[in-house]
């Protein structure tokens, strides 16, 4: 969404294709025009993502006013509808309140209202529930799922919690050290992990079936991104590693004999799958 902080980060290569346009090579200004109308985003920490010195009504009405040139009255009326829609209780009264007067879950609802205001086709949710309690997390995920069913927008859900993703998403991409190491439908990937990292993650999660038993963690710790190991960056922690892993970086590929659409970046996916 061209939100990278300017001097610190820039796109070093690659393409971002959105409806046939390569956003990575378009000027920031053009990309920003797509923001909110085509692509919208919500963030991990709803408190710091809302401006503390403007009322929530102002902030939710802003896309209508600045992007669609709507008058203040009309924009605020639309904002009120949105706030009701995302489940802010007593929205008529609370529309003039400031972000700090709301609970964490309500703030995330406000963020969502703002994001869907202009009917985007794609919503990117970056750890939308990480800062919230489980019960609130559930409500927010349900809200997102409902909104998606209603509007038909696509959603990219970013999370460190495999469980949160499982309920809502159809497909998943697992990332390790800055790369996608495995993609496929949630069921395929979770039931038949083809990359040792995915497998390690799934085994690390305490679950009802292994109560009282020892967990099987991934050995070692995540790598320093400034000094990634050569070859497959997972090799120092990988129980399947062989010589080729230390020198050749594995490309994403479909493991021989498995369903199309399921890909992993591992030289030995077939062995990994055979073990599961």
């Amino acid at each position: 969404m061209a939100l990278l902080p300017k001097p610190a980060g820039s796109i070093a290569g690659g393409r971002i294709i959105y409806r046939g346009r390569d956003l990575a090579h378009e000027p920031v200004k053009q990309v920003r025009e797509l923001c909110a109308t085509e692509i919208a985003m919500i963030f991990q920490d709803p408190l710091s993502s809302l401006n503390p010195v403007f009322s929530i009504g102002y902030q939710v009405a802003e896309p209508f006013r600045r992007r669609q040139g709507m008058g203040k009255k009309e924009a605020w009326a639309r904002a009120l509808d949105l706030l009701k829609h995302v489940g802010i209780p007593n929205a008529e009264k609370r529309i003039r309140d400031y972000p700090h007067q709301f609970s964490g879950g309500q703030r995330q609802r406000i963020m969502i209202a703002m994001a869907i205001a202009l009917g985007p086709r794609l919503l990117i949710a970056d750890e939308p529930t990480t800062a919230l309690d489980v019960t609130v997390q559930k409500q927010i995920m349900n809200l997102l799922a409902d909104l998606q069913a209603e509007t038909g927008m696509a959603m990219i859900l970013i999370s460190h919690d495999l469980g949160v993703v499982a309920d809502v998403a159809e497909r998943t991409a697992i990332m390790y050290a800055g790369r996608i190491v495995e993609t496929g439908t949630i069921r395929e990937v979770y039931d038949h992990p083809a990359h040792p990292y995915t497998r390690g993650l799934l085994d690390s999660i305490p679950s009802t079936s292994d109560i009282g038993k020892r967990l099987t963690p991934i050995v070692g710790s995540p790598p320093n991104l400034l000094a990634l190991p050569a070859g497959c960056s997972f090799h120092p922690r990988c129980p399947f590693a062989t010589d080729i892993c230390r020198t050749v970086e594995p490309p994403l590929r479909q493991p021989v004999g498995w369903l199309p659409g399921h890909e992993a970046a591992c030289h030995r996916s077939e062995e990994v799958l055979a073990h599961g």
Binding site: L3, R32, D45, N51, V53, E62, R66, R67, M111, M114
Partner: protein, 304 residues
């Protein structure tokens, strides 16, 4: 309701602060070895004259009684007579404070008007040429002593170019140079504050949100970033205004301006340096010192 309660609480707190300041002033004045009676009567006075004077001034009473009397009078706005001029202190201050305040307010306004765009430009082009120019010159300006800048500006604009008057308060024009001199270090501080405040705010999550809403970069800065960045600026302006009043006195000296500075410059006596008043530093300090005590303690070294 909430705001009113807050104001009341602050005012209550201010009473305690004033009491504390008054007490400290009293203690400091009593601790200074100089004897006010001796100062007024002169070295040649007889012991009888001194004793009489001390009795007049109430200096022969027990310390605690003096303190209570002093407090009692201060509460009703009677700060006694000036030890130097035998005129009520309040009268002296009332005569000259408005001019000093006018100068300070003017300087403050000037500083705000100039520093804000400078800080904004610097922040929008971080590490660019404009940014480096603004940051460096603000450091240089802040390091220059105010009285020196005053003299230099006088030489240029009054003596050489003859554009502006050099002394006194005759018309609006005579305010220009003093206000500029007073404002310069303040401009430097505020510029850097605006710059750093904006840079900090721009890194916040809600600015990212504003961009994600597809707002034009202009709208992201005005009003989103600006409104947050002004919070520390308002705070510092409030705190620094006291310092500005203090600084005004020095500037007035350079420009022979009839402000508070006049309080202490008329009687020409050698003993001013031991005048029993708390000293304050002549350079702008970030603390908000009590305006009166800092105003009244003109560093005489500059004048003589």
């Amino acid at each position: 309701m909430c705001v009113l309660g807050y104001v009341l609480r602050r005012l209550l707190l201010a009473v305690f602060v004033l009491w504390g300041v008054a007490t400290v002033v009293f203690i400091v004045v009593r601790m200074v070895p100089a004897d006010p009676a001796l100062l007024i009567a002169g070295e040649t006075a007889t012991p009888q004259q001194l004793a009489a004077l001390r009795h007049d001034m109430g200096l022969d009473q027990p310390l605690i009684l003096q303190y209570l009397q002093y407090l009692g009078k201060a509460v009703v706005g009677d700060f006694g007579n000036s030890y130097l001029q035998s005129v009520p202190a309040m009268f002296l201050i009332g005569q000259v404070l408005p001019n000093t305040a006018l100068l300070a307010v003017l300087a403050c306004a000037l500083a705000l008007v100039v520093s804000f765009p400078l800080g904004l430009i610097a922040a929008l082009r971080v590490n660019g040429l404009a940014d480096r120019a603004v940051t460096t010159s603000s450091l240089v300006v802040q390091a220059l002593p105010g009285f020196w800048v005053g003299v230099v500006l006088l030489l240029i604009f009054s003596r050489t170019l003859k554009w502006l008057p050099s002394a006194g308060l005759t018309n609006a024009q005579s305010l220009i140079l003093p206000a500029i001199v007073l404002a310069l270090p303040f401009i430097a501080i505020l510029t850097r504050l605006t710059r750093s405040g904006l840079l900090e705010v721009v890194g916040e999550g809600y600015i990212q949100t504003a961009r994600a809403k597809g707002l034009a970069e202009r709208t992201v800065i005005f009003p989103h970033a600006i409104r947050n960045a002004t919070i520390p600026i308002v705070t510092v302006v409030g705190l620094e205004f006291g310092t500005l009043l203090g600084g005004a006195v020095i500037t007035e000296t350079v420009f022979s301006f009839p402000g508070s500075d006049g309080c202490w410059s008329r009687p020409s006596r050698p003993a001013t340096t031991t005048s029993p008043r708390p000293a304050s530093s002549s350079s702008p300090s970030p603390s908000s010192s009590s305006t009166c005590s800092s105003t009244c303690s003109t560093p005489t070294s500059i004048r003589e």
